[in-house]
């Protein structure tokens, strides 16, 4: 501890030291308490996120019966399969189209609500969030019924307006369309709410001075809103990229990856291989294909947040 006191200043030391030592002990105990209070969190993350992640890498290098180490053979095998390439391709198409449309529709809706009279905004915002609040597996069940070809709503409307009914979930093209539509339905409210918060944070003076300079709506959008919201738009889209890529509930409930494996995403395909057919290592390998995209998105999100708070 503090040993640099000499005999000469025993008296003042006796007066000063206890307080100082008290502070130091207190500081040390403070960081001890700090670590102690974080232990449950550290244990939870270590045991249920970090360890499983590394274990998953190890697992993905075993054979089906988990008796032998096979290196990268599982990844080789996956990349040699047409089905896996379909999964890969559809995962990207699904994520790209869904995030793009959620961003466009979410921004439009935020703009619309922002333009409407203030007293009505609360109710519109409140109603818009309903799809986001309903548990996704259950609302997907509702959509499953909507897509039902003979007794349900969608084809009834199509027939009414004179279009031939569609096999929504049994034709690969329409099945892809259907699962993307449900994801857009579910995720647009989230985009709306973050963009609306962003729009509200733009200082009103900017619009007023722009109006004096004769700026029209298009110019306000182009030169004030988009630049001011650049960061929030980017961060929200990156967030959504991660969550959209990881979608499971919608596809599992609506199509189970069918017809003919055409709507599988990484999550549902990993489930099919790892849990349903019992090839745990292969399933783990499929899941891990998500990781690079996740890591890149996370890196840019972190950078974006640091920039906007700095």
């Amino acid at each position: 501890m503090s040993s640099h006191g000499s005999v000469a200043d025993v008296v003042p030391a006796a007066r000063v030291r206890p307080a100082r030592r008290g502070l130091r002990v207190r500081l040390r105990s403070r960081s001890a308490i700090g670590i102690f209070m974080c232990l449950p969190l550290i244990g939870l993350i270590g045991g249920l996120v970090v360890y499983p992640f590394f274990y998953s890498i190890y697992l993905s290098m075993l054979n089906k019966r988990e008796t032998a180490f096979v290196g990268l053979a599982n990844f080789h095998y996956l990349l040699s399969q047409d089905t896996f390439w379909m999964v890969l391709r559809f995962s990207f198409i699904f994520t790209f189209l869904a995030v793009l449309w959620k961003a466009i529709l979410g921004f439009t809706l935020a703009l619309v609500i922002h333009t409407l009279p203030t007293r009505g905004q609360r109710i519109w915002r409140g109603l818009s969030l309903i799809p986001w609040v309903m548990p996704l597996a259950l609302s997907s069940l509702g959509w499953w019924w909507i897509y039902e070809p003979t007794h349900s709503a969608l084809n009834w409307i199509l027939v009414l307006v004179g279009v031939s009914p569609k096999p929504w979930l049994s034709d690969p093209y329409w099945a892809k369309f259907s699962v993307i539509l449900v994801n857009i339905w579910y995720g647009t409210p989230f985009f709306m709410i973050t963009y609306l918060a962003g729009l509200k944070s733009i200082p009103q003076e900017l619009f007023e001075s722009a109006a004096i300079d004769g700026a029209g709506p298009a110019q306000r959008l182009r030169f004030i809103m988009l630049p001011m919201l650049k960061n929030i738009i980017a961060i929200t889209m990156l967030f959504s990229t991660i969550v959209t890529l990881a979608t499971f509930d919608i596809v599992r409930v609506l199509t189970r990856g069918g017809p003919r494996q055409s709507t599988h995403l990484f999550g549902t395909y990993a489930f099919e291989l790892g849990i349903a057919t019992g090839d745990v290592p292969l399933g783990a390998a499929v899941s891990l294909f998500m990781f690079p995209i996740l890591a890149v998105s996370a890196f840019f999100i972190l950078r974006g947040i640091r920039e906007s708070t700095a």
Binding site: S31, L44, I45, V133, A137, L138, G142, A298
Partner: protein
């Protein structure tokens, strides 16, 4: 000038109301269609006469009565409640402790843990459910609903901690220094100063924890097999569908009832819900 301006404003408003009407139809049609189906008789659902968007042959509560009398729906409901209560309590205790520590008791490594918490929050469950399946198997917890009490907090605590750090950080440092000088210890400070001030944050975090736990689907689908262990999401999706004939009325009644708790929570606590959503960024 002012007249053209006013008429232009009117046109803008008209366009906006038109667009919002389209959005509302898109957003609210699925729950409406679910609700209307759950009150129709089977004959009416099958018959598809007239305009199917209204009940024409009389509303019935039969699907709801059957749900309670003839299916395991109440067991699923009970399981969901029994899992969600400990999940929420456990997650909140861990998050509050960690958030207090990370925002106030600066120790070596606190910054690293803060960033790690944020990164972990970005990890989706479909990345890690397969290794977790193995780990849960070693622990002998496969096919037990209590496995959810172990696994869900890992998905909840990172976000809640992050949210609460934000609320705790807004409490002025002078306040706790004054309390420390007065001889308060950390538990007194946490209980008497931090928690009362951060009540809105606590409510937002609790709502998040409840919602995640109540709507979880992948983990119970992968880890639970027998009917008596199912929660509402998996029970409704897997067990209420029997045979080749789908009982749409009953299915929609079940799905709608299962949606009710989070939706009601949202209706009554909308502002807290939204403050949690916009507290930086959430999953979307």
């Amino acid at each position: 000038m002012s007249r053209t301006k006013r008429s232009r404003r009117n046109v803008t408003l008209l366009v906006c109301y038109g667009l919002i009407a389209l959005f509302m139809i898109f957003f609210l049609f699925p729950p409406y269609w679910m609700a209307i189906t759950s009150f129709k008789t089977n004959q009416e659902i099958e018959g598809l006469k007239g305009i199917p968007f209204f009940i024409q042959e009389g509303a019935t509560l039969r699907h709801y009565r059957d749900l309670f009398a003839k299916t395991d729906f109440l067991i699923y409901f009970q399981n969901s409640v029994m899992v969600t209560i400990p999940v929420v309590l456990l997650s909140m205790v861990i998050s509050v402790l960690a958030a207090y520590s990370l925002s106030r008791l600066g120790f070596a490594g606190a910054g690293v843990i803060g960033t790690a918490v944020f990164l972990v929050y970005l990890v989706p469950d479909s990345l890690l459910f397969i290794p977790l399946f193995k780990i849960v198997g070693w622990l002998g917890l496969l096919n037990s609903k209590w496995v959810l009490v172990l696994v869900y907090p890992a998905a909840i605590v990172p976000f809640c901690t992050w949210l609460l750090i934000g609320y705790f950080a807004s409490i002025p440092k002078e306040l706790d220094e004054a309390a420390l000088v007065d001889g308060a210890n950390h538990s007194q400070m946490l209980l008497r100063i931090f928690l009362p001030v951060a009540v809105p944050g606590l409510i937002a975090a609790t709502i998040f924890a409840f919602t995640v736990s109540w709507s979880g689907f992948l983990i119970p689908l992968a880890f639970l097999f027998s009917s008596d262990q199912q929660v509402l999401t998996t029970g409704t999706v897997t067990s209420l569908i029997k045979g080749d004939v789908y009982h749409w009325g009953g299915l929609m009644a079940g799905a709608l009832l299962a949606c009710l708790p989070p939706v009601l929570l949202y209706v009554f606590l909308m502002d807290y819900y939204i403050s949690g959503l916009t507290a930086g960024s959430t999953k979307g």
